[in-house]
Symmetry: C2
Subunit: 307 residues, 2 copies
């Protein structure tokens, strides 16, 4: 195999209760990447369509992730990469994670799968380090493993793929405002009141239990965030109303996707997810902020080979 075309999914991190540890992958929005073996050592970005991002591989998450993999092998292999960027950088649905995850997935395939998924997460995290200054694993794990993923531990890195109920659909709205991940981190406190932390891990336990037992009611009751949402939601105009209208429209829960500004909701069934999308759109139409909306089944495969 000399070349590969892949789909690298957008992802929702945190999932309300699971700050820095939970994520899931989407099916209807993601980047496309074409990766070819090349005689020129290292990573060469040959095309970027859709966004204005650096061609210098050392300054692009694609290079940061790809070189982390190649360096681990002491490899002098070469790859050309075309990037068809569909996920907006700064959207909060794992734009950098998709590029990083797609790159390491594809290179690993072209090299005959020397690494497992958890090892690929480690390389993709180097893309995240370049993109946001912190080697977070929640988005890249969801992008590589697919479905719901838990980053149980960072040291050692331990990624657990959680069962995904079949009727679970996501609605994501991306209001066209900018929140930098670094800013979204800065509004958080360094400490959590113990009583809030207890509620948070009670809900992590509830959500994971609900995912395994496919108990949509329990999933719904567990989708609360006492740690990030109270501080970050004020950075997103319209958040409270979007959340209220989504729940009224039948969503199981609604929260900030990653560090925002995108807002996600989970619903049982496609029809509910579409009603939630309509409710979300209505809010931003009234406020007068442009937006993109995505409705998607949970992607349970992660990065996919297109051809």
């Amino acid at each position: 195999m000399d070349q590969i075309k892949i789909f690298a999914p957008a992802t929702v991190a945190n999932v309300s209760c699971g700050f820095d540890v939970l994520g899931f992958a989407l099916d209807t929005i993601g980047d496309e990447m074409h990766i070819r073996k090349s005689d020129k050592k290292g990573i060469t970005i040959t095309k970027i369509v859709g966004e204005d991002l650096p061609y210098d591989a050392k300054k692009n998450v694609v290079g940061a992730a790809g070189y982390a993999l190649l360096d681990a092998l002491n490899s002098d292999a070469g790859f050309e990469i075309d990037i068809y960027k569909k996920i907006k950088p700064g959207s909060g649905i794992g734009s950098s994670a998709a590029s990083a995850a797609g790159t390491v997935f594809a290179i690993n395939k072209l090299l005959g799968n020397p690494f497992n998924n958890t090892e690929l997460v480690r390389f993709a995290m180097e893309g995240e380090r370049l993109a946001c200054g912190s080697a977070i694993a929640d988005n890249v794990s969801a992008a590589l493993f697919g479905g719901f993923t838990l980053v149980r531990s960072y040291a050692p890195l331990d990624i657990i793929k959680i069962n995904t109920p079949n009727q679970l659909y996501a609605t994501v709205i991306h209001p066209q405002i900018e929140i930098k991940t670094a800013d979204a981190r800065r509004v958080l406190k360094d400490t959590v009141p113990l009583k809030d932390a207890i509620k948070q891990w009670g809900n992590v336990g509830g959500l994971i239990s609900g995912l395994y037992t496919e108990d949509y009611g329990l999933i719904s009751r567990s989708l609360h965030d006492y740690v990030a949402e109270p501080f970050r939601s004020v950075l997103i105009p319209g958040f409270d109303l979007v959340k209220q209208k989504s729940i009224e429209a039948g969503a199981l829960g609604c929260g900030i996707s990653g560090s925002g500004p995108s807002i996600f909701a989970l619903s049982k069934g496609l029809e509910n997810a579409q009603k939630v999308a309509d409710a979300m759109k209505e809010v931003y139409k009234n406020i007068g902020i442009d937006f993109y909306v995505y409705v998607s089944k949970i992607n349970t495969e992660g990065v996919k080979i297109i051809s």
Copy 2:
């Protein structure tokens, strides 16, 4: 049915990572209680064997829990209760919880089951309020539901029964020292560093995932406590050595049972659990502290009718 004899299990709360939310029930240690309908209104404690506890029902957890149930029904029914106390008060394996859970289970049965398990937990929590000043739910939930239980939320009360892998055994050692629950609470901090809280809920997620998928390795990797053990373990002489020797003997994990002084370990298989018991005993023999040791399959039924 006019009378009932029940077994009310000892329980291990917190289970390392799940401070205030997780618990499990034991099979080989618990109280026995005989409860009879009586013409005398209210709760009369007619016998207490094994421990020196108050016969005045208003001052005994049995009365606090039982009257909470009767008051909710506006009932003028009467019950006589004989308590055969096998679990030492102050042991950290849910002595008051067993008495409270056993009482409400038995009265509920004798009244024709007006309440479900979660409602019974709420009444039993009144026993905990009397015993330790705080209406905690982790021990009483495990005692009433059996198996591993998650207190997802206190308000509203939401108890989830988690799958219990068949080969999971507990070893518990109760060193004969006294730690008051109130003191054990006082050494804890009011706030948790966010980075530790993230590790804690990552492990809650990992443990619950491991329980559902019966992945003993994942259960083992998840049994860590960054919140209570670092502060409380210093109150238990020999704790660090017991933990080290238990792990060396093959335990999946080891931690403080509830607020101590009992120490629990989980193991795969009875044989391993017995090896862990031997390793624990050896430590306290060398230190010169008396102890009781229990090896038990996880009790998946909770309070049981004996006859």
